[in-house]
């Protein structure tokens, strides 16, 4: 069903739809960050599309690519019962300069999801009135879901207790011990790449 939607989008936006793919039964289109809001607005309001719901908005980090982050939305139409995935790519290799238009004025559900994408990846959403961290705390430095953030790097808010045996009471093995294959961190600094 969303194949027709892909064609409609291509007809309407032409070369501004950078790619239209289909995999595992999910249809996706890729757009440039500049067209982000316009495409979504069209998808919401066009009678053949009628996407009433922004089901999901999230980021994906590809440290080897340039632009580095993908921002992905999943849309759903309650009346037409079809879905579409829209993607765009933002940000340079350091993860700075990742800006894309906010969808908050299109769907209200974008509010927290955009805050989460900002919190986790550092993607900024232009036009979002209240882009604060949501899952981590304001004192947190860095963006934890970036591939180069070490998973075990904690940033405690309260100092750990002093005293005999408090620090040394853990099990007699280190964080990565015992899992020669399991614990991969996809090229994060200091982690062996095992494939």
């Amino acid at each position: 069903m969303s194949k027709a939607l892909q064609q409609k989008l291509t007809a309407r936006f032409g070369a501004r739809i950078l790619a239209a793919t289909s995999q595992h039964g999910d249809e996706a289109v890729v757009v440039a960050p500049a067209d982000w809001r316009e495409v979504h607005l069209f998808l919401r309001d066009d009678p053949s599309s009628q996407m009433q719901m922004l089901i999901d908005l999230c980021g994906v980090d590809y440290p080897d690519r340039e632009p580095r982050f993908e921002v992905v939305t999943h849309l759903y139409s309650l009346t037409k019962k079809h879905r579409l995935r829209v993607k765009t790519a933002v940000g340079d290799a350091d993860g700075d300069d990742a800006v894309v238009d906010s969808l908050l004025s299109v769907w209200r559900s974008a509010d927290w999801m955009e805050r989460e994408a900002f919190d986790m990846f550092g993607v900024r959403f232009a036009g979002h009135p209240d882009l604060r961290r949501i899952l981590t705390y304001p004192e947190f430095e860095g963006h934890p879901l970036r591939k180069d953030y070490p998973a075990a790097r904690t940033q405690p808010l309260v100092p750990y207790r002093e005293g005999a045996g408090v620090q040394g009471k853990l099990a007699p093995f280190g964080a990565d011990e015992g899992m020669p294959f399991g614990r991969q961190t996809h090229g994060a600094p200091g982690s062996p790449e095992v494939n």
């Binding site: 019962k81 099990a171 007699p172």
Partner: protein, 206 residues
Amino acid sequence: MGNGIIGKPIPRPSRDAKVQAYLPSVVAGIGVTVKHFFKNTKELAFGQRNDPVLEAFDDGVTTISYPEQKRPYPERFRGVHRLTLREDGNPRCVACLCCSTACPAQCIHIVAGEYADADKKGWEKYPVSFVIDELRCIFCGYCVEACPCDAIRMDTGQHAVPYDSRDQFIYERETLMSFSDPSGRQLTENPKDDPARGHTPDRLKH
């Protein structure tokens, strides 16, 4: 918004005189509670205790007076780990590190060692140290599933016991080997030939 699904509408709350007047429903509510009270009292007085296995399906008193009365755990219950033994009393474990790899919590730590030539009997390696941190374990059972020789099991029928210091949760090889399943069996059900009996395992014949 029409999408072809016809919903079943929920009725709105009834606001009849009985509800609005508070009292009838208060009385009815107390009636239900009192009914249960007498039922439970009768059971207590006549000692009609339910079958401890399926007691949850019955009405009435379902309290398990735990330390005195124990409800047997089901067969699949994942409790404290145990290391199964070979017939000569050595651990069945061959230190392949499958369980510690499969463990999401990384609570298993194994140091592998090699048997001296005289003790080999078809087996190369054994765990010099086999430590499980029961405090860190999340009882998912992945280690049991990952073990290729049925050396680790969670069928002890015991839940992990609370202690008051962290180091007491570090269960070492000897402790783990001393546990048995509820029937007291410490050996494995692995049908593979045990070299201790003088056979050669099938896979070594290749």
